[in-house]
Symmetry: C2
Subunit: 331 residues, 2 copies
Protein backbone atom coordinates (compact mmCIF):
# COMPACT_ATOMS: atom_id res chain seq x y z
CA UNK A 1 0.00 0.00 0.00
CA UNK A 2 1.52 3.36 -1.02
CA UNK A 3 2.92 5.37 1.87
CA UNK A 4 0.33 8.16 1.57
CA UNK A 5 -2.60 5.80 1.70
CA UNK A 6 -1.11 3.94 4.63
CA UNK A 7 -0.60 7.20 6.47
CA UNK A 8 -4.19 8.23 5.74
CA UNK A 9 -5.51 4.91 7.03
CA UNK A 10 -3.45 5.17 10.18
CA UNK A 11 -4.70 8.72 10.73
CA UNK A 12 -8.30 7.56 10.35
CA UNK A 13 -7.62 4.71 12.77
CA UNK A 14 -6.25 7.13 15.33
CA UNK A 15 -9.33 9.35 14.99
CA UNK A 16 -11.63 6.38 15.53
CA UNK A 17 -9.66 5.19 18.55
CA UNK A 18 -9.29 8.66 20.05
CA UNK A 19 -12.98 9.57 20.25
CA UNK A 20 -14.20 7.21 22.98
CA UNK A 21 -15.00 9.89 25.55
CA UNK A 22 -17.35 11.87 23.34
CA UNK A 23 -18.75 8.78 21.64
CA UNK A 24 -19.37 7.05 24.97
CA UNK A 25 -21.45 9.83 26.59
CA UNK A 26 -25.00 9.94 25.33
CA UNK A 27 -25.70 13.48 24.13
CA UNK A 28 -28.14 15.56 26.22
CA UNK A 29 -27.84 13.12 29.12
CA UNK A 30 -28.96 15.76 31.65
CA UNK A 31 -32.21 16.25 29.75
CA UNK A 32 -35.19 14.06 30.68
CA UNK A 33 -36.45 12.26 27.63
CA UNK A 34 -39.42 14.59 27.48
CA UNK A 35 -41.19 16.72 24.88
CA UNK A 36 -38.53 19.46 24.72
CA UNK A 37 -35.64 17.09 24.18
CA UNK A 38 -37.63 15.14 21.58
CA UNK A 39 -38.48 18.35 19.72
CA UNK A 40 -34.86 19.49 19.67
CA UNK A 41 -33.62 16.09 18.50
CA UNK A 42 -36.28 15.90 15.78
CA UNK A 43 -35.35 19.36 14.53
CA UNK A 44 -31.63 18.58 14.40
CA UNK A 45 -32.32 15.31 12.61
CA UNK A 46 -34.49 16.89 9.91
CA UNK A 47 -32.11 19.76 9.10
CA UNK A 48 -29.02 17.56 9.03
CA UNK A 49 -30.31 14.60 7.05
CA UNK A 50 -29.40 14.87 3.39
CA UNK A 51 -32.44 14.36 1.22
CA UNK A 52 -34.76 15.63 3.92
CA UNK A 53 -37.05 18.38 2.60
CA UNK A 54 -35.96 20.48 5.60
CA UNK A 55 -32.23 19.93 4.98
CA UNK A 56 -29.99 22.89 5.79
CA UNK A 57 -26.37 22.92 4.56
CA UNK A 58 -23.87 23.05 7.44
CA UNK A 59 -22.74 26.58 6.58
CA UNK A 60 -26.26 27.81 7.36
CA UNK A 61 -26.79 25.77 10.51
CA UNK A 62 -26.50 28.66 12.94
CA UNK A 63 -27.95 28.56 16.45
CA UNK A 64 -28.08 31.69 18.59
CA UNK A 65 -28.28 31.69 22.38
CA UNK A 66 -29.11 34.36 24.90
CA UNK A 67 -26.71 34.24 27.86
CA UNK A 68 -28.27 35.62 31.09
CA UNK A 69 -30.90 33.13 32.23
CA UNK A 70 -30.29 30.87 29.24
CA UNK A 71 -26.71 29.65 29.46
CA UNK A 72 -25.92 30.90 32.97
CA UNK A 73 -28.06 32.09 35.88
CA UNK A 74 -29.19 35.69 36.40
CA UNK A 75 -30.43 35.81 39.97
CA UNK A 76 -30.46 37.65 42.27
CA UNK A 77 -29.51 40.04 39.42
CA UNK A 78 -27.56 40.08 36.18
CA UNK A 79 -24.03 39.02 37.05
CA UNK A 80 -22.54 41.86 35.03
CA UNK A 81 -24.47 44.27 37.25
CA UNK A 82 -22.86 42.63 40.30
CA UNK A 83 -19.53 43.15 38.53
CA UNK A 84 -20.35 46.84 38.05
CA UNK A 85 -21.29 47.19 41.71
CA UNK A 86 -18.06 45.51 42.78
CA UNK A 87 -16.10 47.82 40.50
CA UNK A 88 -17.73 50.89 42.04
CA UNK A 89 -16.60 49.67 45.44
CA UNK A 90 -13.09 48.95 44.16
CA UNK A 91 -12.80 52.35 42.43
CA UNK A 92 -14.39 54.35 45.29
CA UNK A 93 -11.10 55.37 46.93
CA UNK A 94 -10.23 57.29 43.75
CA UNK A 95 -13.68 58.93 43.69
CA UNK A 96 -14.47 60.55 47.02
CA UNK A 97 -17.20 62.53 45.27
CA UNK A 98 -19.23 59.32 44.85
CA UNK A 99 -20.15 59.31 48.56
CA UNK A 100 -22.61 62.10 47.89
CA UNK A 101 -23.55 61.35 44.25
CA UNK A 102 -26.24 58.97 42.98
CA UNK A 103 -26.31 56.26 41.89
CA UNK A 104 -22.86 55.69 43.41
CA UNK A 105 -23.78 56.70 46.95
CA UNK A 106 -26.53 54.06 47.15
CA UNK A 107 -24.30 51.43 45.56
CA UNK A 108 -21.61 52.13 48.16
CA UNK A 109 -24.18 51.81 50.93
CA UNK A 110 -25.24 48.45 49.48
CA UNK A 111 -28.70 49.67 48.45
CA UNK A 112 -28.80 48.47 44.82
CA UNK A 113 -32.55 48.83 44.61
CA UNK A 114 -32.35 52.50 45.42
CA UNK A 115 -29.44 52.98 43.03
CA UNK A 116 -31.42 51.46 40.18
CA UNK A 117 -34.53 53.43 41.06
CA UNK A 118 -32.83 56.17 39.10
CA UNK A 119 -33.80 54.17 35.99
CA UNK A 120 -31.97 54.09 32.69
CA UNK A 121 -29.85 57.13 33.39
CA UNK A 122 -28.64 55.55 36.63
CA UNK A 123 -27.68 52.37 34.83
CA UNK A 124 -25.91 54.32 32.09
CA UNK A 125 -23.98 56.27 34.72
CA UNK A 126 -22.95 53.06 36.43
CA UNK A 127 -21.95 51.43 33.16
CA UNK A 128 -20.08 54.50 32.02
CA UNK A 129 -18.08 54.80 35.21
CA UNK A 130 -17.23 51.12 35.51
CA UNK A 131 -16.95 50.07 31.88
CA UNK A 132 -15.52 53.18 30.22
CA UNK A 133 -12.31 55.21 30.22
CA UNK A 134 -10.30 52.03 30.20
CA UNK A 135 -8.42 50.18 27.48
CA UNK A 136 -9.83 46.96 26.08
CA UNK A 137 -6.92 45.03 27.56
CA UNK A 138 -7.48 46.56 31.01
CA UNK A 139 -11.21 45.79 30.85
CA UNK A 140 -10.49 42.22 29.75
CA UNK A 141 -8.17 41.84 32.74
CA UNK A 142 -10.70 43.38 35.15
CA UNK A 143 -13.50 41.08 33.99
CA UNK A 144 -11.24 38.04 34.11
CA UNK A 145 -9.95 38.85 37.59
CA UNK A 146 -13.47 39.43 38.91
CA UNK A 147 -14.74 36.11 37.56
CA UNK A 148 -11.80 34.40 39.20
CA UNK A 149 -12.37 35.86 42.67
CA UNK A 150 -16.05 36.76 42.98
CA UNK A 151 -18.49 34.24 44.47
CA UNK A 152 -22.24 33.97 44.10
CA UNK A 153 -23.92 35.05 47.36
CA UNK A 154 -26.23 32.02 47.48
CA UNK A 155 -24.18 29.11 46.12
CA UNK A 156 -20.62 30.23 46.81
CA UNK A 157 -19.72 29.20 43.28
CA UNK A 158 -17.74 31.31 40.84
CA UNK A 159 -20.11 33.03 38.44
CA UNK A 160 -18.86 31.09 35.44
CA UNK A 161 -19.72 27.91 37.35
CA UNK A 162 -23.34 29.09 37.55
CA UNK A 163 -23.82 27.75 34.02
CA UNK A 164 -26.46 25.20 33.07
CA UNK A 165 -25.13 21.70 32.43
CA UNK A 166 -28.04 20.77 30.11
CA UNK A 167 -27.21 23.84 28.01
CA UNK A 168 -23.52 22.94 27.81
CA UNK A 169 -24.68 19.54 26.53
CA UNK A 170 -27.02 21.20 24.04
CA UNK A 171 -24.16 23.32 22.68
CA UNK A 172 -21.96 20.23 22.29
CA UNK A 173 -24.78 18.26 20.67
CA UNK A 174 -25.48 21.00 18.13
CA UNK A 175 -21.81 21.40 17.25
CA UNK A 176 -21.49 17.64 16.85
CA UNK A 177 -24.20 18.05 14.20
CA UNK A 178 -22.25 20.81 12.43
CA UNK A 179 -24.09 23.75 13.90
CA UNK A 180 -22.20 26.96 14.61
CA UNK A 181 -23.19 28.24 18.06
CA UNK A 182 -23.35 31.96 18.80
CA UNK A 183 -24.23 34.03 21.84
CA UNK A 184 -26.58 36.98 21.24
CA UNK A 185 -26.90 38.71 24.59
CA UNK A 186 -27.89 42.02 26.13
CA UNK A 187 -24.79 41.67 28.27
CA UNK A 188 -21.50 43.31 27.36
CA UNK A 189 -19.70 41.72 24.43
CA UNK A 190 -16.37 42.48 26.08
CA UNK A 191 -17.54 41.12 29.43
CA UNK A 192 -18.33 37.75 27.87
CA UNK A 193 -15.51 37.26 25.39
CA UNK A 194 -12.68 36.57 27.88
CA UNK A 195 -14.32 33.35 29.09
CA UNK A 196 -17.04 32.04 26.75
CA UNK A 197 -14.66 29.95 24.67
CA UNK A 198 -13.35 28.05 27.66
CA UNK A 199 -16.72 27.68 29.38
CA UNK A 200 -19.12 27.26 26.46
CA UNK A 201 -16.89 26.48 23.47
CA UNK A 202 -18.08 29.73 21.88
CA UNK A 203 -15.10 31.76 20.56
CA UNK A 204 -14.92 35.58 20.63
CA UNK A 205 -15.91 35.99 17.00
CA UNK A 206 -19.16 34.16 17.75
CA UNK A 207 -20.19 36.39 20.64
CA UNK A 208 -22.66 39.22 19.97
CA UNK A 209 -23.53 41.65 22.76
CA UNK A 210 -23.99 45.21 23.88
CA UNK A 211 -21.08 47.56 23.50
CA UNK A 212 -19.60 50.92 24.41
CA UNK A 213 -18.04 53.34 21.91
CA UNK A 214 -14.45 52.33 21.35
CA UNK A 215 -11.68 54.28 19.65
CA UNK A 216 -8.21 53.54 18.35
CA UNK A 217 -5.20 55.53 19.36
CA UNK A 218 -1.46 55.14 19.66
CA UNK A 219 -0.49 55.76 23.30
CA UNK A 220 3.21 56.08 24.01
CA UNK A 221 3.87 54.31 20.73
CA UNK A 222 1.51 51.44 21.58
CA UNK A 223 -1.59 50.90 19.40
CA UNK A 224 -4.47 50.81 21.86
CA UNK A 225 -8.24 50.47 21.84
CA UNK A 226 -9.94 52.67 24.41
CA UNK A 227 -13.47 52.17 25.71
CA UNK A 228 -15.47 55.38 26.14
CA UNK A 229 -18.09 55.87 28.91
CA UNK A 230 -20.79 55.90 26.26
CA UNK A 231 -23.07 53.12 25.07
CA UNK A 232 -22.71 52.23 21.39
CA UNK A 233 -25.27 49.46 20.90
CA UNK A 234 -27.78 47.66 23.13
CA UNK A 235 -28.25 44.09 21.94
CA UNK A 236 -31.62 43.44 23.56
CA UNK A 237 -35.25 43.05 22.40
CA UNK A 238 -35.54 44.61 18.91
CA UNK A 239 -31.78 45.05 19.04
CA UNK A 240 -31.09 41.34 18.87
CA UNK A 241 -32.10 40.82 15.21
CA UNK A 242 -30.08 43.95 14.40
CA UNK A 243 -27.05 42.55 16.25
CA UNK A 244 -27.48 39.23 14.46
CA UNK A 245 -27.61 40.95 11.08
CA UNK A 246 -24.57 43.06 11.88
CA UNK A 247 -22.34 40.31 13.23
CA UNK A 248 -23.52 37.21 11.43
CA UNK A 249 -25.16 38.46 8.24
CA UNK A 250 -27.22 35.30 7.93
CA UNK A 251 -30.55 34.38 9.47
CA UNK A 252 -29.96 31.67 12.10
CA UNK A 253 -32.14 28.57 12.04
CA UNK A 254 -32.43 28.08 15.81
CA UNK A 255 -32.75 30.54 18.69
CA UNK A 256 -32.80 29.91 22.43
CA UNK A 257 -33.72 32.44 25.08
CA UNK A 258 -35.48 32.73 28.42
CA UNK A 259 -37.14 36.12 28.63
CA UNK A 260 -39.13 38.67 26.66
CA UNK A 261 -35.79 40.30 25.84
CA UNK A 262 -35.39 37.34 23.47
CA UNK A 263 -38.84 37.56 21.90
CA UNK A 264 -37.80 39.42 18.76
CA UNK A 265 -34.76 37.18 18.29
CA UNK A 266 -37.01 34.08 18.33
CA UNK A 267 -39.60 35.86 16.18
CA UNK A 268 -36.94 36.82 13.61
CA UNK A 269 -35.32 33.39 13.47
CA UNK A 270 -38.55 31.41 13.28
CA UNK A 271 -39.80 33.62 10.44
CA UNK A 272 -37.12 32.21 8.14
CA UNK A 273 -38.11 30.38 4.98
CA UNK A 274 -37.50 26.73 5.79
CA UNK A 275 -37.14 24.82 9.04
CA UNK A 276 -36.42 26.69 12.24
CA UNK A 277 -36.74 26.21 15.99
CA UNK A 278 -37.43 28.63 18.81
CA UNK A 279 -36.80 27.52 22.39
CA UNK A 280 -37.61 29.27 25.66
CA UNK A 281 -36.00 28.13 28.91
CA UNK A 282 -38.71 28.59 31.55
CA UNK A 283 -37.44 29.09 35.11
CA UNK A 284 -39.78 26.81 37.07
CA UNK A 285 -37.42 25.35 39.68
CA UNK A 286 -37.49 27.14 43.03
CA UNK A 287 -35.60 24.24 44.64
CA UNK A 288 -32.51 23.87 42.48
CA UNK A 289 -32.44 27.27 40.81
CA UNK A 290 -35.04 30.10 40.91
CA UNK A 291 -38.66 30.12 39.81
CA UNK A 292 -39.64 33.32 38.03
CA UNK A 293 -41.40 34.55 34.94
CA UNK A 294 -44.20 37.11 34.50
CA UNK A 295 -43.56 39.10 37.67
CA UNK A 296 -39.78 39.19 37.71
CA UNK A 297 -37.80 42.39 37.32
CA UNK A 298 -34.90 40.27 36.09
CA UNK A 299 -35.57 38.12 33.05
CA UNK A 300 -39.31 38.78 32.82
CA UNK A 301 -41.06 36.17 30.69
CA UNK A 302 -44.63 37.10 29.86
CA UNK A 303 -45.36 37.51 26.14
CA UNK A 304 -43.19 34.49 25.38
CA UNK A 305 -45.39 32.27 27.58
CA UNK A 306 -48.56 33.72 26.00
CA UNK A 307 -47.53 33.47 22.36
CA UNK A 308 -44.70 30.94 22.25
CA UNK A 309 -46.73 27.71 22.17
CA UNK A 310 -48.99 28.89 19.33
CA UNK A 311 -45.89 29.92 17.43
CA UNK A 312 -44.53 26.41 17.81
CA UNK A 313 -41.75 27.43 20.18
CA UNK A 314 -40.53 24.79 22.61
CA UNK A 315 -40.98 25.85 26.25
CA UNK A 316 -38.50 24.00 28.46
CA UNK A 317 -39.71 23.32 32.00
CA UNK A 318 -36.43 23.40 33.94
CA UNK A 319 -37.91 21.72 36.98
CA UNK A 320 -39.33 18.72 35.19
CA UNK A 321 -37.06 18.41 32.17
CA UNK A 322 -33.57 18.86 33.55
CA UNK A 323 -32.03 16.03 35.58
CA UNK A 324 -29.35 18.39 36.84
CA UNK A 325 -28.99 22.17 36.71
CA UNK A 326 -25.41 23.23 37.55
CA UNK A 327 -22.34 21.17 36.67
CA UNK A 328 -21.11 21.31 40.29
CA UNK A 329 -22.44 22.47 43.62
CA UNK A 330 -25.72 24.30 43.31
CA UNK A 331 -28.33 25.88 45.52
CA UNK B 1 -10.66 -5.60 10.08
CA UNK B 2 -13.68 -4.36 12.09
CA UNK B 3 -16.33 -2.63 10.00
CA UNK B 4 -15.81 0.80 11.59
CA UNK B 5 -12.09 0.74 10.94
CA UNK B 6 -12.59 -0.43 7.40
CA UNK B 7 -15.09 2.37 6.82
CA UNK B 8 -12.68 4.89 8.30
CA UNK B 9 -9.87 3.68 6.06
CA UNK B 10 -12.08 3.83 2.99
CA UNK B 11 -13.15 7.35 3.91
CA UNK B 12 -9.51 8.39 4.26
CA UNK B 13 -8.74 6.78 0.93
CA UNK B 14 -11.55 8.72 -0.75
CA UNK B 15 -10.27 11.99 0.71
CA UNK B 16 -6.78 11.30 -0.59
CA UNK B 17 -8.07 10.35 -4.04
CA UNK B 18 -10.54 13.23 -4.27
CA UNK B 19 -8.08 16.07 -3.77
CA UNK B 20 -6.08 15.96 -6.99
CA UNK B 21 -7.17 19.36 -8.33
CA UNK B 22 -6.14 21.33 -5.29
CA UNK B 23 -3.08 19.19 -4.65
CA UNK B 24 -1.99 19.41 -8.27
CA UNK B 25 -2.05 23.25 -8.56
CA UNK B 26 0.96 24.82 -6.92
CA UNK B 27 -0.30 27.42 -4.46
CA UNK B 28 0.30 31.09 -5.34
CA UNK B 29 1.09 30.13 -8.94
CA UNK B 30 0.25 33.64 -10.21
CA UNK B 31 2.88 35.13 -7.90
CA UNK B 32 6.42 35.46 -9.20
CA UNK B 33 8.83 33.69 -6.89
CA UNK B 34 10.00 37.05 -5.58
CA UNK B 35 10.59 38.66 -2.19
CA UNK B 36 6.90 39.21 -1.35
CA UNK B 37 5.88 35.65 -2.05
CA UNK B 38 8.88 34.33 -0.11
CA UNK B 39 8.04 36.54 2.85
CA UNK B 40 4.42 35.36 2.90
CA UNK B 41 5.40 31.71 2.64
CA UNK B 42 8.03 32.05 5.36
CA UNK B 43 5.47 33.68 7.68
CA UNK B 44 2.86 30.99 7.07
CA UNK B 45 5.45 28.28 7.65
CA UNK B 46 6.66 29.70 10.94
CA UNK B 47 3.21 30.24 12.47
CA UNK B 48 1.88 26.86 11.39
CA UNK B 49 4.81 24.62 12.30
CA UNK B 50 4.33 22.98 15.68
CA UNK B 51 7.35 23.50 17.87
CA UNK B 52 8.25 26.73 16.08
CA UNK B 53 8.78 29.59 18.56
CA UNK B 54 6.37 31.64 16.41
CA UNK B 55 3.69 28.92 16.34
CA UNK B 56 0.10 30.20 16.41
CA UNK B 57 -2.76 27.77 17.15
CA UNK B 58 -5.23 27.55 14.24
CA UNK B 59 -8.02 29.25 16.20
CA UNK B 60 -5.87 32.39 16.32
CA UNK B 61 -4.67 32.30 12.72
CA UNK B 62 -6.79 35.19 11.50
CA UNK B 63 -5.94 37.18 8.37
CA UNK B 64 -7.81 40.38 7.53
CA UNK B 65 -8.07 41.87 4.05
CA UNK B 66 -9.15 45.24 2.79
CA UNK B 67 -11.41 44.90 -0.28
CA UNK B 68 -11.24 47.96 -2.58
CA UNK B 69 -7.82 47.96 -4.24
CA UNK B 70 -6.72 44.85 -2.36
CA UNK B 71 -9.04 42.03 -3.43
CA UNK B 72 -10.79 43.80 -6.30
CA UNK B 73 -10.00 46.95 -8.30
CA UNK B 74 -11.12 50.46 -7.35
CA UNK B 75 -10.56 52.53 -10.48
CA UNK B 76 -11.82 54.76 -11.92
CA UNK B 77 -13.60 55.00 -8.53
CA UNK B 78 -14.87 52.76 -5.75
CA UNK B 79 -17.30 50.32 -7.34
CA UNK B 80 -19.87 50.92 -4.63
CA UNK B 81 -19.86 54.59 -5.59
CA UNK B 82 -20.63 53.58 -9.18
CA UNK B 83 -23.47 51.48 -7.72
CA UNK B 84 -24.77 54.54 -5.85
CA UNK B 85 -24.60 56.65 -9.00
CA UNK B 86 -26.48 54.00 -10.97
CA UNK B 87 -29.11 53.84 -8.25
CA UNK B 88 -29.62 57.59 -8.36
CA UNK B 89 -30.27 57.30 -12.07
CA UNK B 90 -32.63 54.38 -11.55
CA UNK B 91 -34.54 56.14 -8.75
CA UNK B 92 -34.64 59.56 -10.47
CA UNK B 93 -38.12 59.12 -12.00
CA UNK B 94 -39.53 58.92 -8.45
CA UNK B 95 -37.56 62.02 -7.39
CA UNK B 96 -38.17 64.91 -9.80
CA UNK B 97 -36.78 67.24 -7.14
CA UNK B 98 -33.32 65.80 -7.69
CA UNK B 99 -32.97 67.64 -11.01
CA UNK B 100 -32.37 70.84 -9.06
CA UNK B 101 -30.79 69.46 -5.90
CA UNK B 102 -27.11 68.67 -5.29
CA UNK B 103 -25.44 66.28 -5.27
CA UNK B 104 -28.16 64.52 -7.28
CA UNK B 105 -28.34 67.08 -10.07
CA UNK B 106 -24.64 66.69 -10.91
CA UNK B 107 -24.86 62.91 -10.66
CA UNK B 108 -27.77 62.90 -13.11
CA UNK B 109 -25.78 65.09 -15.50
CA UNK B 110 -22.90 62.61 -15.26
CA UNK B 111 -20.58 65.05 -13.47
CA UNK B 112 -19.45 62.88 -10.56
CA UNK B 113 -16.49 65.11 -9.79
CA UNK B 114 -18.77 68.08 -9.23
CA UNK B 115 -21.18 65.96 -7.17
CA UNK B 116 -18.37 64.84 -4.85
CA UNK B 117 -16.99 68.37 -4.58
CA UNK B 118 -19.69 68.76 -1.96
CA UNK B 119 -17.42 66.67 0.28
CA UNK B 120 -18.52 64.39 3.09
CA UNK B 121 -22.03 65.77 3.30
CA UNK B 122 -22.52 65.12 -0.41
CA UNK B 123 -21.38 61.53 -0.02
CA UNK B 124 -23.60 61.04 3.02
CA UNK B 125 -26.58 62.39 1.08
CA UNK B 126 -25.85 60.04 -1.79
CA UNK B 127 -25.41 57.07 0.51
CA UNK B 128 -28.52 57.94 2.47
CA UNK B 129 -30.69 58.24 -0.60
CA UNK B 130 -29.41 55.12 -2.32
CA UNK B 131 -28.66 52.83 0.63
CA UNK B 132 -31.36 53.77 3.14
CA UNK B 133 -35.13 53.55 3.51
CA UNK B 134 -35.04 50.04 2.14
CA UNK B 135 -35.26 46.62 3.77
CA UNK B 136 -32.16 44.48 4.06
CA UNK B 137 -33.68 41.95 1.64
CA UNK B 138 -34.43 44.67 -0.91
CA UNK B 139 -30.93 46.08 -0.62
CA UNK B 140 -29.42 42.60 -0.99
CA UNK B 141 -31.47 42.14 -4.18
CA UNK B 142 -30.50 45.57 -5.54
CA UNK B 143 -26.78 44.96 -4.98
CA UNK B 144 -26.98 41.48 -6.46
CA UNK B 145 -28.89 42.65 -9.53
CA UNK B 146 -26.46 45.50 -10.13
CA UNK B 147 -23.41 43.22 -9.94
CA UNK B 148 -25.10 40.90 -12.41
CA UNK B 149 -25.82 43.57 -15.02
CA UNK B 150 -23.30 46.38 -14.55
CA UNK B 151 -20.08 46.38 -16.56
CA UNK B 152 -16.79 48.11 -15.89
CA UNK B 153 -16.35 51.03 -18.31
CA UNK B 154 -12.78 50.07 -19.25
CA UNK B 155 -12.71 46.27 -19.29
CA UNK B 156 -16.34 45.40 -19.95
CA UNK B 157 -16.12 42.83 -17.15
CA UNK B 158 -18.65 42.44 -14.35
CA UNK B 159 -17.38 44.18 -11.24
CA UNK B 160 -17.01 40.94 -9.32
CA UNK B 161 -14.76 39.72 -12.15
CA UNK B 162 -12.45 42.67 -11.49
CA UNK B 163 -10.89 40.67 -8.66
CA UNK B 164 -7.20 39.86 -8.39
CA UNK B 165 -6.30 36.27 -9.21
CA UNK B 166 -3.12 36.33 -7.08
CA UNK B 167 -5.25 37.43 -4.12
CA UNK B 168 -7.77 34.63 -4.68
CA UNK B 169 -4.81 32.25 -4.59
CA UNK B 170 -3.49 33.90 -1.41
CA UNK B 171 -6.89 33.42 0.28
CA UNK B 172 -6.94 29.74 -0.75
CA UNK B 173 -3.35 29.24 0.38
CA UNK B 174 -3.98 30.76 3.80
CA UNK B 175 -7.15 28.71 4.34
CA UNK B 176 -5.27 25.56 3.30
CA UNK B 177 -2.97 26.40 6.22
CA UNK B 178 -5.89 26.75 8.64
CA UNK B 179 -6.18 30.52 8.55
CA UNK B 180 -9.59 32.14 8.84
CA UNK B 181 -9.87 34.89 6.22
CA UNK B 182 -11.89 38.04 6.90
CA UNK B 183 -12.65 41.18 4.95
CA UNK B 184 -12.27 44.48 6.82
CA UNK B 185 -13.33 47.18 4.40
CA UNK B 186 -14.53 50.76 4.28
CA UNK B 187 -17.13 49.56 1.83
CA UNK B 188 -20.65 48.64 2.88
CA UNK B 189 -20.94 45.39 4.81
CA UNK B 190 -24.29 44.71 3.17
CA UNK B 191 -22.96 45.57 -0.28
CA UNK B 192 -20.25 42.90 0.04
CA UNK B 193 -22.04 40.08 1.84
CA UNK B 194 -24.27 38.90 -1.05
CA UNK B 195 -21.26 37.81 -3.14
CA UNK B 196 -18.04 37.49 -1.15
CA UNK B 197 -18.62 33.85 -0.25
CA UNK B 198 -18.97 32.78 -3.86
CA UNK B 199 -16.20 35.01 -5.21
CA UNK B 200 -13.64 34.96 -2.37
CA UNK B 201 -14.71 32.05 -0.16
CA UNK B 202 -15.36 34.58 2.64
CA UNK B 203 -18.78 33.96 4.26
CA UNK B 204 -21.05 36.76 5.54
CA UNK B 205 -20.04 36.30 9.17
CA UNK B 206 -16.43 37.00 8.18
CA UNK B 207 -17.16 40.30 6.44
CA UNK B 208 -16.59 43.54 8.36
CA UNK B 209 -17.53 46.85 6.76
CA UNK B 210 -19.25 50.19 7.06
CA UNK B 211 -22.92 50.21 7.95
CA UNK B 212 -26.10 52.24 8.16
CA UNK B 213 -28.42 52.26 11.15
CA UNK B 214 -30.78 49.33 10.91
CA UNK B 215 -33.94 48.65 12.88
CA UNK B 216 -36.27 45.70 13.40
CA UNK B 217 -39.97 45.91 12.85
CA UNK B 218 -42.87 43.65 11.99
CA UNK B 219 -44.43 44.90 8.74
CA UNK B 220 -47.74 43.34 7.79
CA UNK B 221 -46.92 40.47 10.10
CA UNK B 222 -43.48 39.93 8.54
CA UNK B 223 -40.38 40.44 10.72
CA UNK B 224 -38.24 42.87 8.75
CA UNK B 225 -34.94 44.69 9.06
CA UNK B 226 -35.03 48.22 7.68
CA UNK B 227 -31.98 50.28 6.71
CA UNK B 228 -32.15 53.94 7.71
CA UNK B 229 -30.58 56.74 5.63
CA UNK B 230 -28.06 57.28 8.41
CA UNK B 231 -24.51 56.05 8.76
CA UNK B 232 -23.91 53.84 11.78
CA UNK B 233 -20.20 53.00 11.51
CA UNK B 234 -17.38 53.84 9.10
CA UNK B 235 -14.89 50.99 8.95
CA UNK B 236 -11.93 52.97 7.61
CA UNK B 237 -8.59 54.26 8.96
CA UNK B 238 -8.81 54.33 12.78
CA UNK B 239 -12.18 52.63 12.40
CA UNK B 240 -10.67 49.40 11.13
CA UNK B 241 -9.15 48.23 14.44
CA UNK B 242 -12.45 49.16 16.09
CA UNK B 243 -14.39 47.11 13.52
CA UNK B 244 -12.00 44.21 14.01
CA UNK B 245 -12.46 44.34 17.78
CA UNK B 246 -16.22 44.54 17.46
CA UNK B 247 -16.69 41.73 14.95
CA UNK B 248 -13.80 39.41 15.64
CA UNK B 249 -12.78 40.10 19.23
CA UNK B 250 -9.29 38.75 18.62
CA UNK B 251 -6.20 40.46 17.23
CA UNK B 252 -5.52 39.06 13.75
CA UNK B 253 -1.99 37.92 12.92
CA UNK B 254 -1.90 39.08 9.31
CA UNK B 255 -3.32 42.13 7.57
CA UNK B 256 -3.35 43.05 3.88
CA UNK B 257 -4.31 46.42 2.45
CA UNK B 258 -3.38 48.81 -0.33
CA UNK B 259 -3.92 52.36 0.89
CA UNK B 260 -3.45 54.65 3.88
CA UNK B 261 -7.03 53.74 4.85
CA UNK B 262 -5.46 50.44 5.91
CA UNK B 263 -2.53 51.92 7.84
CA UNK B 264 -4.07 51.63 11.32
CA UNK B 265 -5.28 48.10 10.57
CA UNK B 266 -1.73 47.03 9.68
CA UNK B 267 -0.33 49.00 12.62
CA UNK B 268 -2.76 47.32 15.03
CA UNK B 269 -2.18 43.81 13.73
CA UNK B 270 1.59 44.04 13.56
CA UNK B 271 1.74 45.36 17.13
CA UNK B 272 0.56 41.99 18.45
CA UNK B 273 2.76 40.02 20.83
CA UNK B 274 4.18 37.25 18.67
CA UNK B 275 4.54 36.79 14.94
CA UNK B 276 2.56 38.96 12.56
CA UNK B 277 2.68 40.11 8.97
CA UNK B 278 1.58 43.33 7.31
CA UNK B 279 1.27 43.45 3.52
CA UNK B 280 0.60 46.40 1.22
CA UNK B 281 -0.47 45.83 -2.40
CA UNK B 282 1.21 48.64 -4.36
CA UNK B 283 -0.52 49.57 -7.61
CA UNK B 284 2.46 49.88 -9.98
CA UNK B 285 1.03 48.42 -13.18
CA UNK B 286 -0.27 51.04 -15.65
CA UNK B 287 -0.42 48.39 -18.40
CA UNK B 288 -2.52 45.62 -16.88
CA UNK B 289 -4.28 47.53 -14.11
CA UNK B 290 -3.71 51.12 -12.90
CA UNK B 291 -0.59 52.74 -11.44
CA UNK B 292 -1.37 55.03 -8.51
CA UNK B 293 -0.25 55.83 -4.99
CA UNK B 294 0.69 59.14 -3.35
CA UNK B 295 -1.29 61.42 -5.64
CA UNK B 296 -4.44 59.41 -6.09
CA UNK B 297 -7.82 60.58 -4.80
CA UNK B 298 -8.89 56.95 -4.77
CA UNK B 299 -6.80 54.59 -2.64
CA UNK B 300 -4.08 57.07 -1.75
CA UNK B 301 -0.94 55.31 -0.54
CA UNK B 302 1.58 57.67 0.99
CA UNK B 303 2.38 57.04 4.65
CA UNK B 304 2.35 53.30 4.02
CA UNK B 305 5.13 53.65 1.43
CA UNK B 306 7.12 55.91 3.77
CA UNK B 307 6.83 53.85 6.95
CA UNK B 308 5.91 50.35 5.80
CA UNK B 309 9.37 49.01 4.93
CA UNK B 310 10.92 50.12 8.25
CA UNK B 311 8.01 48.49 10.03
CA UNK B 312 8.79 45.23 8.26
CA UNK B 313 5.66 45.32 6.10
CA UNK B 314 5.82 43.56 2.76
CA UNK B 315 5.21 45.91 -0.19
CA UNK B 316 3.93 43.95 -3.17
CA UNK B 317 4.90 45.39 -6.56
CA UNK B 318 1.92 44.33 -8.70
CA UNK B 319 3.73 44.99 -11.96
CA UNK B 320 6.76 42.88 -11.21
CA UNK B 321 5.43 40.31 -8.80
CA UNK B 322 2.13 39.21 -10.31
CA UNK B 323 2.20 36.98 -13.41
CA UNK B 324 -1.48 37.71 -14.01
CA UNK B 325 -3.85 40.31 -12.58
CA UNK B 326 -7.49 39.43 -13.37
CA UNK B 327 -8.79 35.87 -13.66
CA UNK B 328 -10.27 36.62 -17.11
CA UNK B 329 -10.18 39.42 -19.64
CA UNK B 330 -8.49 42.53 -18.29
CA UNK B 331 -7.49 45.96 -19.40
Amino acid sequence: MPARLLAACLAALLVVVATPLWAGQAPLSSWQDGSSRKAIEAFVAKVSTEGSPAYVPPAERIAVFDNDGTLWAEQPMYFQLIFAVDRVKAMAPEHPEWKAQEPFASVLKGDIGKALAGGTSAILELVGATHGNITTDEFDAAATAWLETARHPRTGLKYNEMVYLPMLELLDYLRANDFATYIVSGGGIDFMRPWTEEVYGIPPEQVVGSSVKTTYEVRDGVPTLVRAPEIDFIDDKEGKPVGIHSHIGRRPIMAVGNSDGDFQMLEWVTAREGASLGVIIHHTDAEREWAYDRDSHIGRLDRGLDEGPDRGWVIVDMKNEWRQVFPTGGK
